[in-house]
């Protein structure tokens, strides 16, 4: 699924191949940009509300009900600042903001209450990332398309409305994309990443949850 997304993004963005001089960032230059970001859903965890059985010895607890929660996919906004160490390698910091809802399925009620799904949309989620960009100059797409690979580590902060609850954690992402120069140092950028969330809102012992990110935006190179 992830590969398919990446391929589609690249094909849509790729201009006709030409034989002119190829785009390559100048060492020491900066890149500033922003755009929209799609953050895929991720598991939050399962939990059981239990009571102690009226038995001697080790008996499984009585399950009053079970919950299974997910962070829903959301579209957010992002911004980044990069510095090209060389024409092939850049370091970059980025911030992403989104408001995913928490979707919780409730099932297996002891008193046979029907299963149901509840949701909450009060969560605000921030990624603060620091990463490395490797420009794949050998894979130029035409004169202005420059594929890249990226890897980052970030700080995750999840805040509910009215700051009722704050969770934090780490985010690791790896992926790639395409920078497509337009004119005058302005370009478009498309990327797709796979991420692992370590911490944050977690409702069970499973602390690592995977998610998918896709972004599209513009940047200025100077």
């Amino acid at each position: 699924m992830t590969r398919r997304w990446l391929v589609v993004v690249i094909m849509l963005a790729a201009p006709p191949t030409t034989a002119s001089a190829q785009f390559s960032p100048r060492p020491g230059s900066f890149e500033v940009g922003g755009g929209v970001v799609y953050i895929g859903g991720s598991a939050v965890g399962t939990a059981r509300a239990t009571e102690t059985r009226n038995q001697t010895g080790t008996a499984d607890p009585l399950i009053l009900f079970e919950t299974d929660a997910r962070l829903q996919s959301a579209v957010g906004i992002g911004a980044h600042v990069g510095f090209n160490l060389t024409s092939g390698i850049a370091i970059e910091s980025a911030v992403t903001y989104s408001r995913p809802s928490i979707r919780t399925s409730i099932s297996n009620d002891f008193e046979r209450s029907p299963d149901l799904v509840i949701s909450d949309s009060s969560l605000q989620q921030y990624f603060f990332d620091l990463g490395v960009i490797v420009h794949l100059r050998a894979l130029h797409l035409g004169s202005r398309g420059l594929p890249f690979m990226s890897a980052s580590i970030g700080y995750l902060r999840q805040v509910t409305d009215e700051r009722a609850s704050i969770d934090s954690g780490r985010v690791y992402q790896i992926g790639g994309g395409l920078k497509q120069m337009l004119t005058g140092g302005v370009g478009l950028r498309f990327d797709a990443r796979l991420g692992i969330r370590d911490g944050g809102l977690t409702l069970d012992d499973q602390t690592h949850h995977r998610f998918f990110v896709a972004g599209a935006g513009a940047f200025v190179l100077f």
Partner: protein, 334 residues
């Protein structure tokens, strides 16, 4: 100062609930003073207590004191609560004598059918302060003080833990499931040692406090930064637009697994559950149908049990040191 012995028999019963009394908030006893409800609590700690110098078949007074001491240690080990007790000595005084001392002891009360233990109070009806409280363990039942429990005998430490919760000011919790067997209620499972019906003879699970008990005792006698590190949920339970009295509301924290219960105790259906860890909570409402209503409060006629289990349609986020936005949970007639 006006002291009135309140006819509050807070009973741990074997098969059916018989306790009566005015309960306030979610699991605290209260007294109505000048039109407002005040939670019962001890004004000074530690609570100094005596043990009645009488044993029961198979249990000496010294063994009773030991079982009570173990139960006290369990309550005192709650890190977020300041509740404390101090053993003074043995006494010839009887439980429920209006003598100004706290006495715990056995009495042979076969007429109290199904009642393992009970707690009575003398309270100051103006302040809500507990002036005296006694605990009776009914020696008409077979008791065990064995570490590993004994088949056919009730675990004295477990029942002492429950009654000491009452003695501290806690009411009954409805976190438990029961079934009717030969016309009597039997516990299937429980989520609180303050559930009004005891575990079966030989079962030792009643020696361990649950999240509901810990929240309750910490709410009554908070220690350290309990108040700033926990929060509350509040709101109303309604049916056809009208408040529901006596609904059981449970807050479940999926992050910790904690279940803490409370009741709607006004005709407008309002409830407050305090002592919750911060984070998202699932709220579940059920009718009071797993024990006798008068085990919880003395307003049985107003209690509405004609509705089905209902969940709030969203998560409630509990903040640290404050309250979540008030919610309304609409139940349907059943």
């Amino acid at each position: 100062m006006s002291h009135h012995r309140v006819a509050v028999w807070l009973l741990t019963v074997v098969l059916t609930g018989m306790a009566a009394g005015r309960a306030d908030a979610y699991l605290k006893f209260g007294v109505n003073a000048n039109g407002r409800t005040i939670a019962l609590r001890w004004p000074r700690l530690p609570v100094r207590y005596f043990i009645k110098d009488r044993g029961a078949p198979g249990v000496t007074a010294v063994q009773l004191q030991s079982a009570v001491d173990q139960a006290i240690q369990t309550w005192q080990n709650v890190p977020t609560s300041a509740v404390a007790f101090q053993f003074v000595g043995f006494t010839s005084a009887e439980p429920f004598d209006d003598d100004g001392i706290v006495t715990l002891g056995f009495q042979d009360r076969p007429e109290l059918e199904g009642i393992l233990g009970s707690t009575g109070f003398v309270i100051d009806t103006f302040t809500g302060d507990i002036v005296e409280a006694d605990i009776l363990f009914n020696s008409a039942f077979p008791w065990s003080v064995s570490t590993g429990g004994e088949s056919g005998r009730f675990d004295l430490q477990s029942i002492a833990l429950h009654e000491l919760g009452h003695l501290s000011g806690l009411g009954h919790s409805l976190l438990g499931e029961t079934e009717l067997s030969s016309g009597r209620r039997r516990v299937i499972a429980s989520g609180s040692i303050m559930f009004p019906i005891a575990f079966s003879p030989g079962v030792l699970e009643g020696r361990t406090l649950r999240a509901d008990d810990i929240a309750g005792i910490s709410d009554l006698y908070p220690d350290g930064n309990f108040s700033s590190r926990t929060g509350s949920v509040s709101g109303r339970v309604t049916k056809n637009g009208q408040g529901v009295f006596g609904a059981h509301v449970v807050a479940f924290n999926p992050q910790t697994g904690a279940l803490v219960g409370g009741f709607t105790l006004t005709t407008s259906g309002t409830f407050v559950i305090a002592g919750l860890g911060p984070g998202p909570h699932v709220l579940r409402v059920e009718p009071l149908d797993d024990a006798a209503i008068d085990s919880f409060f003395d307003e049985s006629p107003r209690t509405d049990t004609a509705f089905g289990v209902t969940y709030l349609d969203r998560l409630t986020i509990v903040p640290s040191g404050g309250g979540a936005a008030a919610v309304e949970i609409r139940v349907r007639s059943q």
